[in-house]
């Protein structure tokens, strides 16, 4: 074995960068990689900048670039669909009527709850299903985790919470009517198209999920 006998803990930022690697990989190689990076830095064989780029590049390669792509796809979806339907269009409806002064601040709690529920759903679609809420880039398997244990369509519920909360916040009957139209559209879309498509794509595993979890009204999960 050659090499100088350099020992000691690697710098903290090295351990942070190693934390970006996938969990299983980190468990097996993490301490070796951070120890080796520390050795290379102490021996003057690399600079902090080169070492950081190398570690980041390695982490991206281990994750196959898929995580970055998932994050970008979900951010784009969120900006476009919920951004249009939950923020831009409601704002147009409100400002068209001069209803732009908040009247009931307690409604922000409902909006925050809807936003948090949306975030929880997206997290599960991405982490469990490796997809986005968009039907054109949907998860590759039935996601029955997180909020999906309680109800089958939590994203639509989140959208109604946000828009309903906005109607309350600004005291706008017109926005409430918009939320009502949304609710009806969601119901027709879910029953008329989405459930059929899910049945066709996922067959048995979706049928089983459909029997166990209600469509709209949340219910505590039954444990097997």
């Amino acid at each position: 074995m050659t090499g100088p006998a350099v020992r000691g803990r690697p710098p903290r930022w090295v351990r942070w960068l190693v934390a970006v690697y996938p969990r299983a990989w980190r468990a097996r190689y993490g301490s070796e990689v951070s120890g080796l990076t520390g050795e290379l830095l102490r021996a003057g064989d690399t600079t902090p900048r080169r070492a950081a780029l190398d570690l980041l590049g390695g982490a991206v390669a281990e994750r196959g670039g898929r995580t970055a792509s998932l994050v970008i796809r979900n951010v784009v979806f969120t900006l476009v669909i919920p951004g249009l339907g939950g923020a831009w269009l409601p704002w147009r409806i409100l400002s068209g009527q001069g209803h732009t002064v908040p009247v009931a601040w307690e409604a922000t709690v409902v909006i925050a709850a809807g936003t948090a529920l949306y975030g929880w759903c997206v997290w599960n679609f991405a982490a469990v299903g490796r997809g986005t809420p968009g039907p054109w880039d949907a998860p590759r398997r039935v996601v029955a985790a997180g909020p999906y244990r309680f109800v089958r369509n939590p994203i639509y519920i989140a959208a109604l919470l946000v828009v309903g909360g906005e109607a309350w916040l600004f005291g706008s009957p017109r926005l409430l009517a918009y939320a009502g139209v949304m609710a009806l559209t969601f119901h027709l879309f879910v029953t008329g198209y989405e459930e059929r498509r899910l049945s066709r794509s996922f067959g048995g595993s979706y049928q089983e999920y459909r029997r166990a979890v209600p469509r709209w009204i949340p219910r505590p999960p039954r444990h097997a």
Binding site: M1, R50, G58
Partner: protein, 105 residues
């Protein structure tokens, strides 16, 4: 071998296998050895990316930790694969050199 030609992960594994064909080595010794014979300095993330793949494919194996470093050794399958790939490279190198010589003579 130029820097350009060892960008790909397959070339990195040839470098690692070549280094381990001599003797088992831990990460630091591997980097230094590859630097010596190929003039290429691999970073820790790059090295372990390739090493992990080689270990998964059964071409290298980890030895028990020594002095807080884990050495790796080449397996018989690794030796066999290295022999095949180097023979193939040598064959192509020979053809290429012959053609260059014929064209310039």
């Amino acid at each position: 071998m130029t820097t350009e030609s060892i960008r790909g992960s397959s070339d990195r594994s040839v470098l690692i296998l070549t280094s381990l064909a001599g003797s088992p080595k831990h990460g630091y010794a591997l980097i230094k050895d590859i630097e010596d014979f190929a003039g290429v300095t691999l970073g820790a993330g790059t090295l372990y990316g390739a090493l992990a793949k080689l270990e998964q494919d059964g071409l290298v194996a980890a030895l028990p930790e020594q002095d807080r470093r884990r050495p790796y050794q080449i397996t018989p399958a690794g030796r066999e694969q290295l022999r095949e790939r180097l023979s193939e490279s040598a064959r192509i190198a020979e053809i290429g050199l012959r053609r260059i010589a014929a064209a310039t003579s």
